[in-house]
């Protein structure tokens, strides 16, 4: 089989929010573009953040320019991506432990950054959010909101595709060829089939985030990222319908974001070597809860569904000295930087975009696209701030009760609910599969929220696996996404359930441990999952009589 070859104007590496936004921006300026991601879209940092659309309030004191960027982009996204945003509003609350000078200066700092900020009486705050600590001293309202990353990415990709671009998941960049100073081509390998594609773009834009150093290395460029690992925990119920921040210098466990049906407590901060280091430790979880209790005293009694870890794409300019150079991740700027590797490293045809945060993804994409266009001698203006994303212009699409309300409007009932916790119907699942083609159950999860509720996929996974199997023609042996193939629903099942259980390990106590155990008992005991075939076929070697 010969290698495919493609010659787009621009190859975007990385299918997170920034890459998807960049693809959209470039495509709208008339460039032929291709985006590749080593995995599914939104599986890196974009899909592993706390879900907060920043007002900028968090950065007002330490990084006013980041705060200003946030509020400007916050307003832009409310226009172009209203359907991905739940307008929960946000509050900054001062607990008795928070420094007076910080709290006193907060409203002024917000005003200086252009962020609307009103102080609201504590009694009013507690009436609206009764789970908050009654010890809070002051409260300020800011325009925070909850932002759904996967829909945002999908909508950006959809708009890009509508403008002629293409985006491929599960395509890993394995080599970047150079012809002297100039990049001459890229080899991309399909993670499912193993097939290779050679891409010869005029420019490469690396939006690989925390993995940008690895991409740059393929091109022989040294780029030191300082991945900042952050752990978040997901609560089963929304104990708040408003984003709650602690009014103090940013620290651990001081943000609670209501996202869809859950609430997410974030975050920790630890610089790590490897951006793929996504282990979540029980210590981190306990530390988060300890801090979070200052905001929500009953936190320890509430059910935690899972914990997960994201990696911030932090970048430390080697030239910078001072606090920025310390090992404290929180001291590193959250701002983004466009690295022109021609000017920086003498390698033509490659730029990297590093740093930044999801709230400013569009601005990052705009600036990166400007840089690309400048390199390609184009002067098309950016149009991404003015034009709503396809299907995302209506803010009524996204509020807590929307799935329940829409389901009831269609007649209600549970017969068609595949994932009952998150109310994913069979039609929603089929539409996703129509659009996506062969994929894993985990991809379905990101696309539909299947398996994200209390049972963590216990009652829906086998249904999803069966629907995938029923759709594939008999005797068909595709090589679908890793961990999910229509020809092996049982394998897809155990992969997914084990994968989900990883996120549960660090939070496995109380009801969640009970749930995990019940589900495991059903799948192993009643459903015969767990390689019973090999165990009882006489192949097993372990002595089952030896119970320790």
């Amino acid at each position: 089989m010969g290698e495919r070859m493609l010659t787009p104007d621009v190859l975007v590496i990385g299918g997170g929010a920034t890459g998807a936004g960049l693809l959209r921006d470039l495509a709208r300026r008339g460039l032929r573009c291709l985006l590749v991601d080593r995995s599914d879209f939104g599986t890196g940092t974009s899909g592993r953040y706390h879900g907060l659309l920043h007002s900028g309030g968090r950065y007002v004191s330490k990084d006013p320019s980041a705060a200003r960027e946030c509020i400007v982009e916050n307003q832009v996204l409310r226009r172009i991506a209203a359907g991905c945003i739940e307008d929960t509003g946000g509050i900054f609350v001062a607990t008795p432990d928070d420094p007076d000078d910080y709290v006193d200066a907060f409203p002024g700092a917000c005003a200086a950054a252009g962020i609307d900020c009103d102080e609201i009486p504590v009694t009013e705050t507690l009436r609206r959010e009764p789970a908050l600590s009654p010890a809070i001293r002051r409260a300020f309202r800011v325009p925070d909101a909850a932002l759904e990353p996967w829909q945002l990415i999908e909508a950006n990709l959809a708009d890009a595709r509508a403008h002629g671009a293409d985006a491929w998941p599960y395509q890993r960049v394995v080599a970047i060829q150079r012809d002297g100073r100039r990049i001459s081509g890229v080899t991309v390998r399909d993670e499912r089939s193993g097939a290779s594609t050679r891409v010869v773009p005029r420019m490469i834009a690396s939006a690989a985030g925390a993995w940008a150093g690895q991409v740059a290395a393929l091109a022989g460029v040294e780029l030191m990222m300082s991945p900042g690992k952050g752990t978040m925990i997901v609560y089963n119920q929304r104990m708040t319908d408003t984003v709650v921040n602690r009014c103090h210098p940013p620290g651990d466990g001081d943000i609670m974001v209501p996202v869809h049906t859950v609430a997410i407590l974030g975050t920790t901060e630890e610089l790590v070597e490897d951006p793929d280091d996504d282990e979540t430790s029980s210590d981190e979880v306990q530390a988060l809860i300890n801090e979070g209790e200052a905001l929500f005293p009953a936190l320890r009694r509430m059910r935690v569904l899972r914990a997960y870890t994201g990696v911030r794409p932090l970048y430390r300019d080697p030239a910078v000295q001072g606090p920025e150079a310390s090992d404290d991740g929180r001291a590193i700027s959250r701002s983004h930087i466009i690295l022109d590797h021609e000017a920086r490293d003498g390698v033509e045809g490659l730029i990297s975009i590093v740093g930044g945060k999801l709230t400013t993804y569009r601005l990052m994409a705009e600036q990166a696209a400007n840089a690309v266009c400048a390199k390609l001698g184009m002067s098309e203006p950016c149009t991404t701030a003015g034009e709503p994303l396809p299907g995302m212009g209506d803010s009524r699409a996204h509020w807590l009760g929307h799935r329940l309300a829409e389901h009831e409007d269609r007649g209600g009932g549970d017969a068609d609910l595949i994932c009952e916790c998150e109310m994913v119907t069979r039609a929603m699942l089929e539409r996703f599969l129509d659009r996506r083609g062969p994929c894993s159950i985990d991809d379905i999860r990101r696309g539909t929220r299947l398996g994200m509720g209390p049972c963590q996929g216990g009652f829906c996974t086998f249904r999803a696996a069966a629907i995938m199997a029923e759709r594939a023609p008999d005797g068909h042996t595709d090589r679908a996404a890793p961990g999910g193939s229509a020809s092996d629903p049982e394998g897809a099942l155990s992969t997914f359930l084990n994968e989900r259980s990883k996120g549960t390990r660090a939070v496995a106590w109380g009801r969640q441990l009970q749930e995990l155990w019940m589900v495991t008992g059903i799948y192993v005991g009643v459903m015969g999952l767990e390689g019973s075939s090999s165990e009882h076929g006489g192949e097993a070697t372990e002595d089952h009589g030896a119970v320790s």
């Binding site: 209203a82 739940e86 307008d87 929960t88 509003g89 009436r127 609206r128 959010e129 009764p130 089963n236 119920q237 929304r238 319908d241 408003t242 049906t261 859950v262 009694r301 509430m302 059910r303 803010s395 009524r396 996204h398 509020w399 807590l400 009760g401 929307h402 799935r403 329940l404 309300a405 009831e408 209600g412 009932g413 549970d414 009952e420 916790c421 109310m423 509720g453 209390p454 049972c455 216990g458 009652f459 009801r511 009970q514 749930e515 019940m518």
Partner: protein
């Protein structure tokens, strides 16, 4: 915190946060009598802990640019009859039926109440109007045209098991026979007296139940105090009218708490009223103050109290013989009390009486649920297995502790249904009669 304290803290956590416990295991769906008979109701898991995660907390700020606020966007929760079987079946302590009641109240909170629900929610109001006009009102209730009008205009099903008004309320009869003795707590001995909460049914429709209870209590040396009281408020709660229910609850709590604090026991003949005093004021209406706790701790269902007397050897067990089979249906509300089946234990004390638990779930009426036009058929279907078993038993009388169940079962089967305390009262009378006969009759020898 000790383990016991932890368990007790969990037992008193707010109803809606118990949704956190849901294992999604579907056990609740196996016991729901409503989803058993209608495809319209998706069952307790769906409308309970599952939908709960999609409901905003009351008091949430409206969200700009959306169709907010919709606190509870589902409407099928209205088909929950509130029987509470799901709550009892749940292995994880999720208070499903209670959660559904709250969701219904959220739905109703920003709407004007339906006239029908407002009327059915206030049996005391109906009673005050109906009793003075009893002959007329009862004739109207029997009149097919009037019932048709009631169904069309008000939404009460034409075949609804509506009780007939008593010609005189229990309170009127009581004050005529005993004088207007509104005793203050200080003037009676809490060891030798009880406070009677008659509720609306015994007052306006079935004074004979109240009188039976009083005769049984007095037979056992207890003086009965009947304080001023209004409807317990349960019909309002189950119709989602929490604010109105709260007003009644406060009224009752004010009176009853003084007795409770003075050490009196409060006894009721309606399992629904007593459960409301015990639990719903605190749990559903959020009136969890000192008064409510005192009243809750002092409240007893009549059979619970009598069985307690018996277990302390203080019950007069000289019951007359009654050789017959008596089917007994424990009402759903009784199961929520968590006190076992005291009526069955008491009826077992009557010589010759073979009282048997029918062991079926719900009669269907669930308070005012089965009276409603759109729910009457569901209520009848739910009750079918019970009605069938009762008819097959061949008995001409059955026993049940709750009034609306009695009326519903009686109307559906044509079999007389009485409160267990009426059976006990009759057994005392029978004993006395037999004694008198034995004393009066010449000895045959």
């Amino acid at each position: 915190m000790s383990i016991t304290e932890l368990i007790e803290a969990a037992a008193h956590e707010p109803v809606t946060s118990t949704a956190d416990g849901c294992l999604k295991c579907n056990v609740c769906n196996t016991v729901c009598p409503v989803s058993r008979v209608t495809d319209l109701f998706p069952g307790p898991k769906y409308v309970g802990p599952q939908a709960q995660r999609f409901r905003l907390a009351p008091g949430s700020p409206p969200q700009a640019g959306s169709v907010m606020p919709v606190l509870s966007p589902d409407h099928t929760v209205d088909l929950c009859s509130g029987c509470g079987f799901c709550t009892n079946a749940c292995p994880a302590g999720v208070r499903i039926a209670e959660m559904n009641s709250r969701a219904r109240a959220q739905m109703r909170a920003d709407r004007r109440p339906h006239l029908r629900d407002w009327l059915l929610g206030q049996p005391d109001l109906l009673g005050r109007v109906g009793v003075p006009l009893a002959p007329l009102a009862n004739a109207a209730l029997r009149n097919r045209a009037a019932r048709w009008v009631g169904e069309t205009l008000v939404g009460v099903h034409r075949h609804a098991p509506l009780p007939t008004f008593s010609r005189r309320s229990f309170r009127t009869r009581w004050s005529r026979s005993r004088g207007r003795r509104l005793r203050a707590p200080g003037s009676a001995d809490p060891e030798r007296s009880v406070v009677y909460f008659h509720g609306c049914a015994a007052n306006y429709y079935e004074p004979e139940v109240a009188e039976a209870a009083i005769s049984v209590l007095e037979r056992n040396g207890l003086e009965v105090i009947v304080p001023q009281q209004v409807c317990c408020g349960l019909p309002l709660i189950s119709n989602g009218l929490y604010a109105q229910a709260r007003a009644r609850a406060r009224h009752n709590l004010t009176t009853l708490a003084t007795f409770a604090r003075a050490g009196f026991r409060i006894v009721g003949t309606s399992t629904s009223c007593t459960h409301t005093l015990k639990a719903e004021y605190r749990e559903m209406l959020d009136l969890d103050d000192e008064d409510a706790r005192a009243v809750s701790g002092a409240t007893w269902d009549i059979c619970e109290l009598l069985l307690d007397l018996h277990e302390r050897d203080r019950l007069d067990t000289r019951f007359g013989r009654s050789d017959r089979h008596l089917p007994y249906h424990p009402p759903c509300q009784l199961r929520s009390h968590g006190i076992g089946l005291p009526a069955l234990d008491l009826l077992a004390l009557v010589p010759g009486l073979d009282a048997v638990d029918l062991d079926l779930d719900c009669c269907g009426v669930a308070g005012t649920y089965g009276l409603k036009r759109e729910k009457y058929d569901i209520a009848m279907a739910v009750g079918q297995p019970l009605f069938r078993k009762l008819r097959e038993s061949g008995a001409d009388e059955a026993a049940c502790d709750s009034e609306t169940c009695r009326w519903h079962i009686a109307k559906a089967t044509g079999i007389r249904v009485r409160h267990p305390v009426q059976i006990l009262a009759a057994a005392y009378v029978a004993y006395a009669a037999a004694e008198a006969e034995a004393a009066g009759a010449p000895s045959d020898g």
